[in-house]
C-alpha cells in the first residue's frame, strides 16, 4: 500500500519504475518540434499518462499538448512567501524590541517602517528558494541516474533531437501496441530502453 503510494508520487515527478523483465519504456524520436507537439497530443489522447518529452529548448504549447495542466509550483511559492513574511516580522520584533532593545534617536523599539525592507527581502528570498526547490521537487530532480541515458541517441536531446518517451509503468503500456501507436503518431525512430543497460533500436 505505502509502496504503491510512493510509486505513484514518484510517477508524478517523472520517475517511473521499470517492468520486472527490465523494460523501462519506449523512446521515440521525432523530426521537429511540430511533429513532437502533434505526437504528444496523440499520446495523451490515447490515454497515456506516464510519458515525457525531451527537447533542446522549451516549446510553446507543449504543456497543453501533453495535458499537464497548471503547475503547482505557484502554491509552493506562496507558502514560501508567507513563511518569509512571518519569519521577518518575528525576527524584527524579537531582536529589536525583546532581546536587545536599543533607543536610537527616540524611534520606537519596534516599528513597521524600518521592518518592511526586511519583510520584503525575506518574502522574496523564501519565495524564490521555495519556487526553485518546489520546481526541483515536482520534477524529481536532481536525478543523476535515468535509464534513458542508456540510449545513445538520447544524448542529442540537449543538442538537435526531439524525443518522447512512454514508461512501461503506464497502465496502457504494451510493447507492440505502444510502439505502433508511436510510429503512427509520427515518430521517426522508436527504441526499447532496458533498465539493466542497453536499448534496442526499432526502425520505422
Amino acid at each position: 500500500m505505502l509502496k504503491k503510494i510512493i510509486r505513484q508520487i514518484k510517477a508524478t515527478m517523472g520517475v517511473y519504475e521499470s517492468r520486472t523483465d527490465g523494460v523501462y519504456g519506449l523512446l521515440a524520436e521525432f523530426s521537429n518540434p511540430g511533429t513532437l507537439i502533434d505526437g504528444a497530443r496523440k499520446v495523451h489522447a490515447a490515454g497515456y499518462r506516464h510519458f515525457d518529452t525531451h527537447t533542446p529548448f522549451p516549446i510553446h504549447g507543449m504543456d497543453r499538448a501533453m495535458g499537464l495542466g497548471q503547475s503547482k509550483v505557484g502554491y509552493i511559492t506562496l507558502i514560501g512567501g508567507l513563511s518569509g513574511l512571518g519569519l521577518a516580522t518575528w525576527l524584527q520584533w524579537w531582536t529589536s524590541a525583546v532581546d536587545y532593545p536599543i533607543n536610537i534617536s527616540g524611534k520606537p523599539f519596534f516599528a513597521i517602517e524600518p521592518s518592511i525592507p526586511i519583510m520584503f527581502e525575506l518574502t522574496v528570498l523564501l519565495s524564490a528558494l521555495f519556487a526553485v526547490g518546489g520546481m526541483f521537487l515536482l520534477n524529481g530532480l536532481p536525478r543523476p541516474y535515468n535509464p534513458l541515458f542508456y540510449s545513445r541517441a538520447f544524448t542529442r536531446a540537449s543538442d538537435d533531437a526531439f524525443f518522447l518517451h512512454i514508461a512501461a509503468s503506464d497502465k496502457n503500456f504494451d510493447l507492440e501496441e505502444t510502439e505502433s501507436m508511436l510510429l503512427e503518431a509520427g515518430a521517426k525512430v522508436v527504441e526499447v530502453v532496458h533498465d539493466h543497460g542497453y536499448s534496442e533500436l526499432h526502425r520505422a
Binding site: K107, E113, I116
Partner: protein, 423 residues
C-alpha cells in the same frame, strides 16, 4: 500617391495630426456615437465646473480639482508614450496587436495643452494652485510675503521659467508622440518593414528625453504645490503611477473594443495575461517607490521633510492614506496575484477601472492636502472636473482611433503577436 500621408486641417490637429486612412482588415466599427456621447458629457461637466468654479467661493477649490483631473489625463498620455517607446526599443512582439491603443492615447498632447489654459490662468491668479511661490514679493525681505526658503529657490520657481519649462515639455512630447504615430500609420499604409528600425531609432533618444521631462513635469505640476518640500524620487513616483495607469487604460480599451465587436481574434487571453502581469508589476513598483519615499523621511525625521507626510496623516487625511495603501497596493496585489484573474476580460477590466480610480485618488492625495490642510474632503468639483476632463480625453482618443486601423496592420511582427502564447 499611396505612400504619403496627408496632414489634417489646423483645428483637427487637436484631434489627430493625420488625415484619416482606410483600413480593410481592422476598421473601427463603433460608429460616431461612441465618441460623441462621452464628448458631450465631458464638455458639459467641464462647463458646469468652470461656471461654478469661477465664483469667488469655489475658485481655489476649482483650480485644485481641475489640476488633479488634468494631471490624471496627462499621466495616461505619458504612460502610454512610455509603453510605445519601450515596446520599440526592446522589440516586444506580444503587444504589437494592441499597440495602436497606447499610440493613439499618446497623441493627446495638443489637446492637453488646450485643456491646460485654466491652469495657466491660475498661475497668474492669487487664488491659483501655485500661489505659495507665485506670490508677489516672495524674495523681497521687506515684503509681508517674504519667505527665506522660497527666496533661495526663486531661480527655478518663477513664473516665466515655469511656463518655458512647460512649453518645452509639451514641444518634446508632442514631437515624439506625433512622430511615433505618423511612422506607425505610414507603416500601415505602405507595409514598409524598415519603418520599424526608424521607430527604434526615435525611441532610443526619445525614452531618456521622455523620462527626464516626465520627472521634471511631476516636480513642476505637483511638487511645487507645496514648494517648501522636496523629494528627489517624486518623478519616479509619478512615473510609476502613470505607467501602471497606462496598462490599465489599455486593458480597459481592449475589453471595451472587444465587447463592441472589434479586435475579435486579435486580443486573446494571452494578451490579457501579459497586460495583467504588467498591471500587477507596476502596482508593486508604485508601492515600492511610495514606500521608499516615505521610509527615508521617516528615518531621517527632519521636520521640514516629514511635514508633508504629517499633513497626510492627520485631520482625516489619514483615512485617505489608508485607502491608498489598501486600494492602491494590498488589495490589487492579492487580487491580481492568481493567474486566472489576469486571463479573463471581466475581472481584469474591473481591476483596471479600480486602479485608474486609485491613480486619480493618488494625485488627489498628493495635491489636495495643500489646500485643505486641516480637514480632509472630497469636493464634488473634484469629481466633476475629473469626469469631465477624462470624458473629453477619452472621446477625442476614440475619435482619433476611429480614423485609422485599430491594429498596426503594417507591422511585420503582427502575425507573431497574434499567435503569441505565454509558456
Amino acid at each position: 500617391m499611396r505612400d504619403s500621408l496627408r496632414g489634417s486641417s489646423p483645428l483637427m490637429k487637436l484631434v489627430d495630426p493625420l488625415a484619416p486612412t482606410k483600413s480593410d482588415r481592422y476598421p473601427f466599427t463603433g460608429g460616431s456615437r461612441s465618441y460623441i456621447i462621452p464628448g458631450l458629457i465631458g464638455v458639459a461637466a467641464i462647463a458646469v465646473s468652470i461656471v461654478v468654479g469661477m465664483s469667488e467661493m469655489f475658485l481655489e477649490q476649482f483650480y485644485f480639482s481641475y489640476l488633479i483631473g488634468w494631471t490624471f489625463c496627462l499621466s495616461l498620455a505619458l504612460g502610454c508614450m512610455f509603453i510605445v517607446l519601450i515596446k520599440h526599443l526592446v522589440r516586444a512582439e506580444w503587444i504589437v496587436a494592441l499597440r495602436r491603443i497606447p499610440e493613439a492615447v499618446a497623441v493627446s498632447f495638443p489637446l492637453l495643452i488646450i485643456l491646460f489654459i485654466p491652469i495657466v490662468v491660475g498661475v497668474f491668479d492669487s487664488h491659483g494652485p501655485y500661489h505659495h511661490w507665485t506670490a508677489e514679493g516672495i524674495d523681497d525681505p521687506t515684503s509681508n510675503y517674504y519667505d527665506e526658503i522660497l527666496a533661495g529657490k526663486v531661480a527655478y520657481l518663477n513664473i516665466p521659467f515655469f511656463l518655458i519649462r512647460i512649453g518645452f515639455y509639451f514641444v518634446a512630447w508632442t514631437f515624439l508622440s506625433s512622430r511615433l504615430w505618423r511612422l506607425s500609420i505610414l507603416q500601415d499604409v505602405t507595409g514598409d518593414a524598415s519603418i520599424s528600425a526608424r521607430l527604434r531609432h526615435l525611441s532610443a533618444w526619445g525614452l531618456p528625453v521622455c523620462g527626464l521631462t516626465t520627472a521634471f513635469a511631476a516636480f513642476d505640476f505637483l511638487m511645487t504645490l507645496d514648494p517648501h518640500w522636496f523629494s528627489t524620487i517624486f518623478g519616479v513616483y509619478f512615473f510609476a503611477g502613470a505607467f501602471m495607469s497606462a496598462f490599465c487604460f489599455t486593458a480597459l480599451c481592449v475589453v471595451g473594443l472587444q465587447r463592441a465587436g472589434m479586435l475579435r481574434g486579435v486580443a486573446t487571453a494571452e494578451h490579457y495575461h501579459d497586460l495583467g502581469k504588467l498591471m500587477f508589476g507596476f502596482v508593486v513598483f508604485w508601492a515600492y517607490i511610495a514606500f521608499s519615499q516615505y521610509m527615508l523621511y521617516w528615518y531621517g525625521g527632519i521636520p521640514e521633510e516629514t511635514a508633508w507626510f504629517k499633513h497626510r496623516l492627520e485631520h482625516g487625511w489619514e483615512t485617505h492614506s489608508g485607502i491608498l495603501l489598501f486600494g492602491h497596493f494590498i488589495l490589487p496585489f492579492l487580487i491580481l496575484l492568481p493567474r486566472a484573474i489576469k486571463r479573463y476580460s471581466i475581472p481584469l477590466a474591473v481591476m483596471a477601472a479600480w486602479l485608474l480610480a486609485m491613480q486619480w485618488f493618488d494625485i488627489h492625495w498628493q495635491a489636495m492636502p495643500v489646500l485643505h490642510i486641516d480637514h480632509a474632503q472630497l469636493h464634488w468639483l473634484d469629481i466633476s472636473c475629473w469626469i469631465g476632463l477624462t470624458c473629453v480625453f477619452v472621446a477625442i482618443f476614440l475619435w482619433r482611433l476611429s480614423r485609422h486601423a485599430i491594429v498596426c496592420e503594417g507591422d511585420p511582427q503582427l502575425e507573431k503577436s497574434l499567435r503569441f502564447e505565454n509558456v
